[in-house]
Subunit: 121 residues, 2 copies
Amino acid sequence: MTIAEVSRKYEISADTLRYYERIGLIPPVPRTRSGIRDYDETSCGWVELMKCMRAAGVQIEALIEYVALYRQGNQTLEARKQLLMRQRDLLTSRITDMQASLERLDRKIQLYEQGKMYVEE
Amino acid sequence: MTIAEVSRKYEISADTLRYYERIGLIPPVPRTRSGIRDYDETSCGWVELMKCMRAAGVQIEALIEYVALYRQGNQTLEARKQLLMRQRDLLTSRITDMQASLERLDRKIQLYEQGKMYVEE
DNA sequence: ATACTATATGGAGTGTACTCCAAGTCAAGA
DNA sequence: TCTTGACTTGGAGTACACTCCATATAGTAT
């Protein structure tokens, strides 16, 4: 797959895809003899994973570290698991915070619906 | 309340509190005759609201617009409500995305726990 | 009155994550 | 073969949300 196809498939700009590869957020993508990127299943899998993690707000730095550990082989399995668990905990608490904010927003909207916002902020 | 007290109370730096006021994220804070900020209940309420909304990832621009509408008085009640509803929808979909990512992360961690990461990314 | 700490303003600087650009190479159709 | 559009790299630029700094003034304790 060309970079344009991957870009369309995952709705990530080609610039961002190249940027992700350059900084090590995804491992090097296979190339044709002339140097043009030719995304295979594996590379697409990485792109999809990173799209998902970034959408969740996981920091690029943590993801770069994960990829770096992955590329070092099986002796990093435990470290990778620890990293993922840490990110899961962070994500869980972000979701909790956001749910609390959502409830606050809902209450505020309710006040507007009841025409009670003359004294509130 | 002084800016230092508000800063401690809400765990927001004094610089950020001044920044929020400067850009209109909160309405002007009352001052002493000599120009020093003296936060009252209302100002604290705004600070607390914005801390909550920012923690949820609501864009500063949307919040500035909300405050601007608020300051224009009661003829903006409907516009404010619409704005809040829009932000609620955005927040809801972000939470949904994050929950999906969380599940993906959990499955990945499970694979690590089962020692099945020799073939996965 | 002096010293010291807090607060004020305007403006510059920082970190994160892209996003764009210039200059050059590659590939597919007429 | 020529043209046109896609692809390459390295590096600069942008957007957002702070964060820091210099300089000046204010408030408090001795």
